[in-house]
Symmetry: C2
Subunit: 316 residues, 2 copies
């Protein structure tokens, strides 16, 4: 069987079942970052994520500094989704040998500027030849034990919230591919993670969280699978910006599809008890549904009708 | 200017000068692993290294499990070179979509078997499409503060030692490329890091250490540059196995060149004061030279004559 038949999450499931782990791990494969014992009050967070040319970015659209910046945002978003603060990163860089050295300068200016913004120290790395431009970053973070947010904490009756507009990066990508112009393009080229907001959310008190990197459909499925619950999501409550709606129209596409099945928005999807909703929505988050019993499955409601959820973005 | 003109270490130098780091770091870019404050008695070690198809391995020679095993050995070797014990790793995997799922199974059997051998827990990762098979691993480790071994600790008068036979992996690679047979092939396909030995060395007391991943010439240069010293290396003292000598003959090559300029032996090069030499050589290490004043430079002596050292293996 080819990898393309098994699918990304099929491959991950296969790997997860077999992977060797003997030590005590608070959370391992299956969350945005691994969670390790650190000291009395804090956990250590540990994640890795890659950007691959012609998969995650095209050099036709992306400036080198934008690739560097996005690689840091992407990993910081994983740390944010755990409720933590990123601290250190190492960069594994694979580059074609005929690339100009200016490319590396600009790439690193994006890495450094973004790392500085979040006070992340780049403390190591490695460099190798390759056919395509690939950046694989690994990042460490710290989170107070009382603030840790896992995918598996969602409880029946929790409200499901989304931190901000989604579908914007996918709309931007589609514009770029079709050689059209629109406001969403910037959302694709220069996404920003919600680190500051995530810290506020965990201090208010939430039950589970994930970052929106593969679309709402994929993320709510992860939360439900890890928490052993079901969910009802209301399509018309999902926050989508006017820009994204306009750009979708221009493309003859449905903006809801971008929100559900698009990737790389780096917003946060999280669940919280009713008592916290007022404080959470004051920060700009939108209630988009409720956590239900597992046996209800995951339902998407649009105009009072149930729509079948497809899977989110998969790499294979 | 192209990356291939600047060279691997030129690129790293460029990156190092610019990289953002605000936090306290015991050692960052420029050692085998970054060294971070962890607790009263221990440092946290953090490294990353990648294996890229057609750069570090060819699928013509390598079985998938050997690639998986080598990726763990390679990163564990970086932790060993700091005197530490590896603990956790995350795996960033990039694979062509037409690859068979059996390939991933076998790759992970190599990863898991090797991780288990060293008690390293694989606790996360990420997977993406790519044109070539690429594994970028990041690894954490722990080292007692009293045992930390840096590149920068070498002192004038130190003896330079090598943990075991070198040049064996490069000889194996050359045999494979020339479609010849020989004992060194196994050294290339299945290298083993010297984790157990490294722990014994730091407990005896050494001043500096590096793993031999790019050849003796490259590693002694790193030790000297980081420590601000010079060195005299005696070519005939460098440990080279009979197998490597025979395989070099078969290839019409000089085995010393393999030792000086070859890569991926994962032995250890280290320096120690005279008082420790007896204990260190009992463990199988060979004295291959002495640390000298910086102004002497790095000299290689063969048959009482000085030979100019070329640079070791570079990726660009």
């Amino acid at each position: 069987m080819k990898l393309s038949n098994l699918g990304e999450f099929g491959i991950i499931k296969k790997i997860r079942e077999k992977t060797y782990s003997s030590k005590e791990v608070i959370a391992g494969i299956g969350d945005d970052a691994a969670v390790l014992e650190f000291n009395k009050k804090q956990f250590l967070l540990y994640t890795t994520d890659a950007l691959v040319e012609n998969v995650h970015f095209s050099l036709k659209y992306f400036k080198p500094w934008q690739i560097g910046a996005k690689s840091i945002e992407q990993n910081a978003s994983d740390i944010a989704a755990m409720g933590g603060v990123p601290t250190y990163a190492v960069v594994s860089l694979m580059l074609p040998e005929n690339l100009d050295t200016k490319f590396v300068d600009e790439l690193y200016s994006g890495i450094n500027k973004t790392a500085k913004k979040y006070h992340i120290s780049i403390i190591g790395g490695n460099i190798s030849k390759s056919k395509e431009v690939i950046m694989s970053i690994s990042m460490l973070g710290i989170v107070e034990k009382k603030y840790i947010a896992l995918r598996k904490g969602a409880k029946k009756g929790d409200y499901i919230l989304c931190s901000g507009n989604v579908g914007k990066s996918a709309a931007g990508l589609e514009l770029l591919k079709k050689n059209k112009k629109g406001a969403s393009i910037k959302n694709h080229l220069e996404p920003k993670c919600r680190l500051g907001l995530a810290r506020k959310l965990v201090k208010i008190g939430i039950n589970s969280m994930i970052d929106v990197s593969d679309g709402i459909a994929s993320e709510i499925t992860h939360i439900c699978n890890e928490s052993g619950v079901g969910a009802i999501v209301y399509a018309d409550k999902i926050p989508i910006s006017k820009n994204t709606i306009n750009d979708a129209k221009l493309l003859g596409k449905n903006s809801l599809d971008f929100a559900l099945y698009g990737g790389e928005d780096f917003e946060l999807l999280f669940t919280a008890p009713k008592s916290k909703i007022k404080k959470l929505t004051k920060l700009g988050a939108s209630v988009i549904g409720e956590i239900a019993d597992k046996k209800n499955g995951i339902k998407l409601i649009k105009n009072n009708k149930e729509i079948k959820l497809r899977k989110g973005f998969e790499h294979f």
